[in-house]
């Protein structure tokens, strides 16, 4: 199928990988699902507000983290502005975890893995777990006595799991590199995937609506 906006030139044909990829994306992620103008009534729930607050907190975490990485520990432990940005980083992390946990509680009691949404639920749980590791590497990368205390006490536990061979909490370079590069990219990508999954399948219908639909009016049409 030729789009009216397709640039002039020789057609690649239906067998081209770009055409096949485009058709796959158009089928999996239609634009009216990515950017909908209408939503089901049950989207109006504080549980989803918790998720949005968590994403907002993540934006603050990454923004303040970029500033901290740029100026370094000699700045965030000494200057007044450094203390401020360090505190913003810390407190936005607290907000992130509080609201991720509240979002998870709500989704658990809504059984949000129903109707083919297991992958969305699992990605959310994985985000929480990877977030914990990211927070831990951040605690041991603070470059202060608190970080030393945590690292010294954690090393035996980590070694007991066998992970100490490749995850050395006493190695500041390794912890800092993992904290500022690998895990933030992973968390950000998974959050983007999570939001995409929600857009693709829609949010789960409330349990009471589905239960009452057996003997009454049919439930709203599920998003494909």
């Amino acid at each position: 199928m030729t789009s009216p906006t397709e640039p002039p030139g020789p057609a690649l044909g239906d067998g081209s990988w770009t055409g096949a990829t485009r058709r796959l994306l158009e089928r999996l992620i239609p634009l009216d699902h990515l950017l909908p103008t209408r939503q089901p009534f049950f989207v109006g729930s504080w549980v989803y507000v918790f998720g949005v607050v968590a994403v907002t907190a993540l934006v603050w975490v990454i923004g303040s983290g970029v500033v901290l990485a740029f100026f370094g520990p000699g700045w965030w432990h000494v200057s007044g502005v450094g203390h401020l940005v360090n505190s913003i980083h810390f407190w936005s992390v607290q907000f992130f975890f509080v609201f991720v946990a509240l979002h998870l509680w709500g989704q658990y009691f809504m059984a949000s893995w129903r109707d083919g949404r297991a992958a969305t639920w699992l990605v959310g749980v994985v985000i929480f777990i990877i977030g914990l590791v990211t927070g831990f590497t951040g605690y041991v990368a603070q470059q202060n006595l608190d970080a030393q205390w945590i690292a010294i006490n954690a090393k035996d536990g980590i070694n007991a799991t066998g992970a100490g061979a490749f995850f050395n909490v006493l190695d500041f370079g390794q912890m800092y590199g993992i904290h500022v590069m690998l895990l933030p990219i992973l968390v950000t990508m998974l959050v983007a995937l999570h939001v995409l999954q929600v857009r693709m399948r829609g949010v789960v219908k409330p349990i009471e609506v589905k239960a009452s639909s057996s003997g009454g009016n049919p439930p709203p049409t599920a998003a494909p």
Partner: protein
């Protein structure tokens, strides 16, 4: 800020006061989310429209 946190102990449960306050706060927010009406909520059954397809 530089002084150790107070701890609360009930039997074998030992938790710092700041952590306990955060957990209580989370529970309060969660319960409030269950009972507080959502702004602009029209209620189930009035509008069952789903995503436009």
């Amino acid at each position: 800020m530089d002084t150790p946190a107070s701890y609360v102990q009930v039997g074998f449960i030992l938790i710092s006061l700041p952590n306990l306050l955060v957990i209580i706060g989370m529970l309060v927010v969660f319960v409030a989310a269950l009972v507080a009406p959502f702004p602009g909520h029209r209620g189930a059954g009035e509008d069952g429209d789903d995503l436009a397809d």
